[in-house]
């Protein structure tokens, strides 16, 4: 594997470094030199990694292919092959019209939960993380310890008591039951704390204070813009976790009008499979699933630069 080419890499490395200041000659381009920073590519390694990539991508391919099939084709044709005709558009139209267009309602609910939840939780995490990094106050260490400890509390230990508590308060089966728990993101607070520590110069805060700026104004106008990379990361990961949340809305909501997409789609999936005489709508379940993941994939692909640096930040601090 890579060992076949490795003996060449170490020996060429110093020589190219020595040659680096010399002007680039056209001959260099012809005979490629392998360095530590640019070693020879390994085909074997690429193929092995490719096998894993295949494992990752096949289910998504399956989803895309099967979203183009009508219900009859779905049942009768080979899983990774196309059906008789491309019914993608029909499926999409059906997804949005089935059961009086409840899919759009679920989509709107999801967007509502995601936008409010992610924005509020990220802002609270930024405010708290900044205060922990840049302000000294009573109980700071204890606060940090408890919040970080809470990261390892399993969701189940919280969700059921949360439900019982919310039931007492009469807010189950309302959007609040899904929104309020999503406002708290301990891991986001941790990331913001780490990042505030590094990215916000204390001198700048002092200078603003001297200038007479209020503390809230300093946070909003000076610190918050400097926290942008961490903010995008926390925002994106809250977005994903709320968009994908299944357990919490499952226990909190009974009224389909408040369902997010995750619960709604599973509801449709149940429709088809209940005891034979239900109408099978797997084509809608699959097309709905595809529509549901498109925004997530777009968000991840377009914001790559931010979340990759944000993740590395968390990984290095530990």
């Amino acid at each position: 594997m890579p060992s076949t080419s490795s003996p060449t890499a170490p020996t060429t490395a110093p020589s190219t470094r020595a040659a680096a200041p010399a002007p680039k000659l056209p001959s260099v381009r012809k005979r490629k030199l392998y360095t530590l920073a640019n070693p020879r590519k390994s085909l074997t390694l690429t193929i092995v990694t490719g096998l894993f990539a295949l494992y990752c991508i096949v289910p998504m391919l399956w989803l895309v292919i099967n979203a183009t099939k009508s219900q009859q084709d779905f049942v009768s044709s080979f899983g990774l092959g196309f059906g008789g005709h491309i019914a993608l558009w029909d499926n999409v139209v059906q997804v949005f019209t089935f059961q009086d267009g409840i899919f759009s309602r679920w989509l709107l609910n999801t967007v509502l939960y995601v936008v409010i939840g992610a924005v509020v939780s990220t802002f609270l995490a930024a405010l708290g993380g900044y205060a922990l990094a840049k302000h000294d106050f009573v109980g700071r260490r204890a606060f940090l310890l408890i919040v970080l400890g809470s990261i390892s509390v399993p969701g189940i230990a919280l969700a059921i008591p949360q439900f019982l508590l919310f039931a007492q308060l009469g807010i189950t089966n309302t959007p609040w039951a899904v929104l309020i728990p999503s406002f708290i993101n301990p891991f986001g607070l941790y990331l913001m704390w780490v990042f505030s520590d590094q990215a916000v110069p204390t001198g700048l805060i002092e200078a603003a204070r001297i200038d007479g700026a209020g503390e809230l104004r300093i946070f909003l106008r000076i610190a918050f813009p400097l926290l942008a990379p961490a903010t995008v990361t926390v925002l994106l990961f809250s977005f994903v976790s709320i968009w994908n949340n299944y357990f919490l809305p499952l226990i909190m909501l009974k009224d389909p009008a408040w369902y997010p997409l995750t619960i709604g789609i599973n509801q449709w999936n149940k429709l088809g499979s209940t005891a034979g005489n239900g109408e099978l709508i797997q084509n809608l379940v699959i097309t709905g699933s595809l529509l549901m993941i498109i925004p997530l994939i777009v968000a991840f692909l377009s914001l790559q630069r931010y979340w990759q640096s944000g993740l590395s930040m968390g990984a290095i601090k530990d």
Partner: protein, 313 residues
Amino acid sequence: MSRQLLTHQTSVSDVAADHQTLRKPKRRNVGLAFIAPFSVLFLFVFIVPIGYSAYISMFQNKLIGGKVFIWFDNYIKLFQDSQFYDGVIRVVLFTAIQVPIMLFSAIALALAIDSLRLHGSRFFRIIVFLPYAIPAIVSTLMWGFMLGIRYGLIGSLNKAAGTSFNPFAPETTMISIGVMVTWGFTGYNMLIFYAALRAVPRELYEAAAIDGATEFQIVRHIKLPALRSSLIVTIIFSIIGTFQLFNEPNILTTLVSNSGITSYYTPNMYAYSLAFTGSQQGYAAALALVMAIFTIAIAYAVQIKGMKNAFNK
């Protein structure tokens, strides 16, 4: 704005000293005020529910007499409940097998991508990560349909080969769930390892190469040790995740029949069915608390063990 600040700074620098000391007690309150919104909500969604569940775990709903205070009877009953043990043993076994496979794959992938020897490494990084963005409901539906024998690929393959392999037979369902979970989280862990590898100063590799180290030695003595703290973090988060296994088996029950998934298949599913179909909230709360303590204990054990190893080095 900052330019304005700087000019001011020089003219009032000596006033600033007094100003600062005067402001200090006030600023302590500012810190408290800034964490207040988070703290209040945190109290409301974390601390109070945990306290509340500890409280109701000492009650039992009786048909006659309503709620009855029963001290620790729910806990005593739980420790004698074979259905509870069934679920616990299943998730512990699952964790013991799935987490090492997933983290080993994640490390291997991170090393492969970091080695710079892949064609199109950027492409691989994205593709391997993408499943993380897919909700459990969608991933379970996809895998459930694909592996299912009625509509899926396995069904077609069985037909073609004349076999009757069923990934959702009672003996194999857990393996299929493992395939789904590994699919969803390997990429996320890979990125954490990859970030740790990128943080290693490149000069270390150059120095090692000049000393004649082979690539294998560089991996063994520089790269793998650099992954230690990330490994501890990923192990802890993976254990927390797999102990809570719920979504996949819960969704599968409606997708495939005779899969062997019971209402007490995992501790989480058991707690859910106790609280919502059995209306035994007190018992469910006791179960949830015991699982939380169990999970935290194991997470701490991993952390302490990891730290000990680091000291021994």
